[in-house]
């Protein structure tokens, strides 16, 4: 077990290094650090541009290998470099990660939980009305781009607010300045509602399909019949034997998806004007901010890899058939 962990950790480190280096190289190649100086009036003096580029380590006159080397050296010291607005990328990311995680954790937990429930009910009552409605529903959600869902939700919220004449649901930003204490908390919850729903819907759609298929697989064996033959009622046989077995593959998928949601959350963050990681990445691209882009990619890579390991460990722990 320990040997396995050590091997996996070493593997992960290598992969993470490759991914982050790749991220940096890609960002350097794709982004133009000079973009923010162009077209400014009066023109920024060359000397100043050079100084700014040197500060972020993105001077195009330095060979790419050298830039990568010094960036990696910084990484080894725990620094992701400086962003174009002269702030350390590390602290910026730390700040924004909190915002993103808030959405991510809540969305994943809700989405996976509800999705699993919907999938179970769908499988148990296969081809009945609930199954049909949720099946059609999930395909509709999956076929709709996230921002469309988000905009539709906002339209609905606006209608509601107009109809009631009160600001029940607030959906711009994370909070309204000037509230604190309980009022502040309620305000934050109100802001959290729509982005969470937008994120959750997509996950429910995906997970209900997976869970439904997994449970149908189990139900096609004699496992539930066997449990009933032992003296379980249909319901308790399903819950105690059928569902538990079908949950194992879901658990690992859920953990992994937590990382994958990052991409989906980018659009949600933008639409609802949340200052999270996704927004940071897009901002970096627009400002030609190589360090910020590479830093975000590095974080995502580490997160996904770590969650992969967690997923594998969880699977091995839940299922005795899996050996590490």
């Amino acid at each position: 077990m320990l040997r396995y962990l050590a091997r996996r950790a070493a593997n992960m480190l290598l992969l993470a290094l490759l991914a982050t280096s790749g991220g940096y190289v890609l960002a350097s190649a794709a982004l133009d650090p000079l973009v923010r100086f162009r077209g400014s009036n009066p023109p920024v003096p060359d000397e100043q541009v050079r100084r700014a580029l040197a500060l972020t380590g993105t001077d195009p006159d330095t060979p790419l290998a050298g830039r990568l080397g010094s960036w990696l050296a910084g990484l080894a010291r725990g620094s992701l470099g400086t962003s174009v607005d002269n702030r350390p990328v590390t602290s910026e990311i730390a700040e924004r990660a909190g915002t993103s995680l808030q959405l991510l954790v809540l969305g994943t937990v809700l989405g996976v939980g509800l999705g699993v429930l919907v999938g179970i009910v769908g499988a148990v009552r296969q081809h009945r009305w609930f199954d049909r409605v949720t099946t059609q529903g999930s395909f509709v959600v999956l076929a709709t781009p996230t921002f469309v869902v988000a905009v539709l939700l906002m339209v609905g919220a606006t209608r509601l607010n107009d109809a009631t004449g009160r600001q029940i649901i607030r959906f711009t930003g994370q909070y309204t300045p000037g509230h604190d204490g309980w009022a502040g908390l309620a305000d934050r919850a109100s802001h959290l509602l729509l982005p969470t729903v937008a994120l959750t819907l997509g996950l429910v759609a995906v997970f209900s399909r997976y869970q439904r298929a997994a449970l149908l697989d189990v139900l096609s064996t004699d496992l539930v019949r066997g449990a009933r033959a032992m003296g379980h009622t249909q319901r308790s046989a399903l819950v105690r034997h059928g569902v538990r077995v079908a949950l194992v593959p879901m658990s690992t998928l859920a953990v992994y998806t937590g990382g994958m949601v990052l991409a989906g959350a980018t659009i949600t963050e933008l639409t609802f004007s949340w200052h999270g990681m996704g927004e940071y990445l897009l901002l970096a691209a627009r400002r030609g901010d190589v360090n910020a882009a590479a830093g975000t990619v590095a974080c995502a890579a580490v997160l996904v890899l770590a969650l992969g390991l967690v997923a594998d460990l969880l699977h091995a722990w839940l299922d005795p058939r899996v050996r590490l």
Binding site: A229, G231, H241
Partner: protein
Amino acid sequence: MAEPLLDVRGLHVRFADGAHAVRGVDLQMAPGEVLGLVGESGAGKSALVSGVVGLLPRGATLTGSVRLAGTELVGLDDRRLAALRGPGVAMVFQDPLSVLNPLRRVGTLVAEALRLHDRTVTTHAVQTRVDELFTLVGLPAGTQQAFAHELSGGMRQRVGIAIAIACSPRLLVADEPTTALDVAVQVQVLEVLDTARQTADAGLLLVSHDLGVVAGWADRVAVMYAGHVVEQAPTTDLFAAPRMPYTIGLLRAVPDPRAARRLVPVPGEPPTAGWSGPGCAFAPRCPVAQPRCAQERPRLGGDQQALPAHLAACWRADELVGGTLSLDDVFAVGAPRDRERPVPGDPVLEICDLRLTYRLDAGVRRRGRRGQIVAVDSVWLTVRRGEIVALVGESGAGKTSTVERIFEAVPALGTVRLLGHDLARTGRSVRRRLRRSVQLVAQDATDALDPRMTVRATVGEPLLLARVRRPERHRRVAAALRTVGLHPTVADAYPYQLSGGQRRRVAVARALVTDPELVVLDEPVAGLDVSVAAGLLELLADLRDSRGLTALVVTHDLAVVRQLADRVAVMAVGRVVEEAPTAALFTAPAHPCTQALLAAVPVPDPTADRPRAVFRPEPEWASAPTGPATPQCRLAPRCPLFAGLTPDRQHRCRTEVPRLLPSTADRTVACHWWRTVVPSG
């Protein structure tokens, strides 16, 4: 019968898709009785027992009456039925791996069965009972901690039995409990099942397609056909004097491991599940059907006075009882085959000292870290022109690996010679020609046939590869189909339009179409119904007699071997341990392993000795990884002969691999001490 344990009356089962699987069954069982339920696939056996246990799939409807010790089960709600399942009626399934929860230790599962019906029971009492049950089914206490996937098939089924009898049920229902197991293990499991039944003093409803199993273990037998019980009688009566043509056909279609005989395939096919008609369902296939049979369905009747009664659903049962209609009038057995075999010709296939090991890798670049599995460990085998040789052995003995080597699907050490050419030393073009002269009939015809190809394309494919032109190809395909007893119009059909038996025949036709020197048949009748299998076995025997078919038959079914093979090679733990002409091997098996296999074979005759388990422990070593092989007889740990040897003789088994040596003119045996007679017991 006094108060019957089980009293089924007018039972109907209809499935959601409209199939009418059980069509008015009456069935009684006395307490402690073993009732065998036989019939071919689709006869409604499983639907009937599922109905009795209350485990029908959703959407199925059950009408009629099922009384268990006086309690009516039909119409009970799920909760009441659940309370009865366990203490009232319990079930043993065909595939324990899919029944046992993979996430729980098997001991926990048995404990759960106990707790479900007595929530007040103490942990200590449960543990005591679990220990008791594990001892009863012959599992070491340590296995309680195991998960289902860690146990062998036989051990899993023992766990299944322990769960079933945990609450001492009145009625035990076993649905094909040993179908997935090797013969030796099958006997052990059936013995355990019988012991468990006696301990719980339960009745046993034993569902099986295997007439041998039923003959050995059932007190009475009920035969099902198209949803009806068509005959029901004490086992000895039913086998000695069947009164219903379908039963007669069934009994005459079963191969007997004691002697080769002509098999009688029942013509035609059973009706589909949606079938309806006023007459007897068997009438269209019945050789002695009368006009009345098609118009009016005969009820299950007979001498009600004699107890237990012999009942048959046939208008002509009385004539069969009275002797005015003989069994041969119904299904005549053909004249015995001329067993004077011509002297076999040159060797077609020679396998010399074949060895094959699989590495167990711990990951890429960690090859062989987890040891190795010796799949084939010295196989010697010769097939001569015009003879059928059988390669038999339990699963894991290395049969398939050996066959795969013939088709060069796996790399191995040793020599394989086809038509005198060493495969390893011939050039590419010769090898292609050689390979074309050997054809394989795979076990599962459904998997082996491409669903998108017509029968003509499938059968003609080997000819296409041999660059035979189209008109000639079509002519030869039609001829091959005729050879295997199929009408040439079948050529335009797709596999899904054919029955299982027809598909198997198509697979044989494809193998024969190029006139190969050697046909390799992997489990030729596994999974086929008795009457269909009979037709195929007769066909193969006819091909041998008329066309001089040369074949290697790989199987674990010794009755099939007896029926078909001229010579037999017995494999165990990757080695050929004995090779002899079929009759000699069956009448006087020399190797302890052969003896054990033969002792375990069920015989379709209730008056014969019941099969016995001679090799006690199960073959776990078959798949166990081993380090570098130490020279020893790997069979020793489970060998009954070894156990009775003096220590100095045992020492030889432990330190020297027995070589395959000629014992008589036509027999070779690989055992140091096979001549030693050890008192049985």
